[in-house]
Symmetry: C2
Subunit: 357 residues, 2 copies
């Protein structure tokens, strides 16, 4: 049977510590060349809505040790509205019922069969959080206990879950441009984490004195600046442009997620020619040579050095997502789903065939 | 509703002339930069079966004019057995029920929604046939009436369907290494096409005197050789290595499908280091500069010149498949499926989500 899971199912099946463990094991495989990942690609065209573009995004990865190959697909109507002082990348829920479209398909490395199909939302959020959590685990001070976070969205929640999973966090301060959002977020997260999350009115108030400074926004502009960097701090970001270059330069060590410099961009001719479509935030970090920076998998297997003293300033840049993350986390979800009786079971025959393709 | 179609459904919905028309229209869009396609990628790892590898292949394409984006995925257990004198690439039906795994997912460019999911088999075969059919339409002599084909498999059938759709074919001769296969194929195709297909004992007997020489094998070695090339002939191949370089050099004009030189190959370290896994048949055509050859879309929009006389020797090399083909042909299938009442309708909500991914 091929399992159709919902985001609610995945949410029930996947805890943050499990997600972190799954990725940590899988990154060892990746570092050793036994796991593989195919650079994300974005196909971008016009769509009927004139202020939007259509994006068909995909990324693949295979982890033979865990027995799973994954393809993650997003079919997005994307807009670039201005929020506060920054331009953000915002997907419009344009599918029937005002919904977004993201899917993860999981396959068996042993016999090729389609194991499961599910929306990507919960899994993609958890793997971003877990990845930055591993950055904290391997780079932040052991005694780090205060977090400042910029952002109060869906991603920010899993960032905090991950921080609390790997360090004994005592205090969290949150800033985002809209007061109502940050206050609601602070309330929800305080309850979920059992740690007080306080909404503050200025980004500096969130970051000041924080052992761990987290950026978790949808901004295509910088939101974290050099004057905020302090001795012993660990900085962490879920997207390249968030931390300005001068802040990165203050770090004693910067670790990135992967050496894929940017997604494979394929665009219609007109869009490619239009300047605003050209830069999707990937070109904003100018002179940092990503090819020379160590990656998180390098760090996990000890090929790259972690923090050397409590005074060091460290940074983990989650510069690009990997299809491989979905293979790793997907394997964990499937393992538990088999016992859970969750989801819809469809005949595998619907997704296989009796002809040589 | 998201439609789950079977190969049988697609077979009922898609005729070869419709498939050719859909691709012809879509290739105009591609040539004009209004349609886009993302280079196929192959992720290759070990699998449990020691003489095989696991391959997770994907390709994407979007045709805004037809309103459809497509992702085609193959999850294959691949072996490289020797058949006769040639090494072939053979996918093992290892999924439950001895089945293969290939899927096409179709999405709306207008609102992103998942329109349909189906096995890729019938569609992929038809689009290969139709693509080579367009090569014949634009390059073979108008009065071409004899076909010689090397190969008697699943692909060979759609090659003949396509040839008969674009030219008034009177005679077909077929060779493949196994007598029983070629004879069964000849019988079936004679009945289907209403044109006599004759099985012959030597490849030369199939090709001699043919106006159109078709290669349609799973071979990773050359199967068509220079001495067989004759004045006025059109040669056509579904894979790069089939026609040897000396034969290609005899052509007055060679047109390829696309400038993607080869798939994006991502392999585990050990496989990448192993010579036999390195060359999947893509490096076999040594000194032909594909970047300078015109493509089929160029030819269709008149940017590249077609045949100039009955004496010219022409060649169409279907050098690589495109995700874009599945968007084009998928749009045609969906359009007809809506009237047909075929397939299983699943709630679109199963494949969408209420969270921003």
């Amino acid at each position: 049977m091929t399992l159709i899971l919902s985001n609610e199912d995945v949410d029930k099946l996947l805890t943050m510590p499990e997600c972190i463990d799954a990725l940590e094991e899988a990154y060892v495989e990746l570092a050793e060349g036994r796991g593989i990942t195919r650079t994300r690609s974005d196909c971008i065209t016009p769509t009927k809505r004139p202020d939007a573009v259509y994006g068909l995004k995909s990324m693949d990865g295979v982890c033979p040790k865990l027995g799973v190959g994954a393809v993650r697909i997003n079919s997005d109507i994307v807009t670039f509205p201005k929020k506060g002082n920054t331009v953000v990348r915002e997907k419009v829920p344009a599918a029937p019922g005002n919904r977004w479209v993201g899917l993860v398909l999981l396959f068996s490395v042993d016999n090729g069969e389609p194991l499961a199909i599910m929306p990507d939302g919960v899994m993609q959020r958890m793997r971003v959080g877990a990845t930055n959590g591993l950055g904290i685990k391997y780079l932040a001070r052991e005694n780090a206990e205060t977090v400042g976070i910029l952002g109060s969205g869906w991603q920010a929640g899993s960032q905090l879950m991950a921080a609390c999973a790997v360090r004994d966090i005592k205090e969290i301060r949150c800033f985002s441009p809209t007061r109502a959002n940050r206050e609601a977020f602070a309330g929800e997260m305080t309850e979920m984490l059992g740690v007080e999350v306080r909404a503050v009115d200025q980004p500096e108030d969130a970051i000041k004195g924080a052992d761990i400074a987290m950026c978790s926004s949808s901004s295509l502009d910088h939101i974290f600046f050099a004057p905020w960097v302090k001795t012993g701090m660990h900085m962490t970001s879920i997207k390249r442009p968030e931390i300005e270059m001068d802040a990165l330069r203050k770090a004693d060590r910067v670790v990135i997620h992967n050496h894929d410099e940017k997604p494979i961009h394929v665009m219609t001719r007109d869009l490619a020619n239009a300047e605003n479509a050209k830069d999707q935030g990937w070109n904003s970090v100018g002179d940092l040579d990503f090819a020379k920076l160590p990656t998180l998998p390098d760090l996990i297997v000890g090929r790259a050095q972690g923090r050397q003293s409590d005074r060091e300033i460290t940074c983990f840049l989650n510069n690009i997502g990997l299809g491989y993350q979905f293979a790793a986390v997907g394997a964990a979800v499937i393992k538990k789903a088999k016992d859970g009786g969750l989801g819809h079971e469809l005949p595998t025959d619907w997704f296989t065939e009796d002809v040589h393709p």
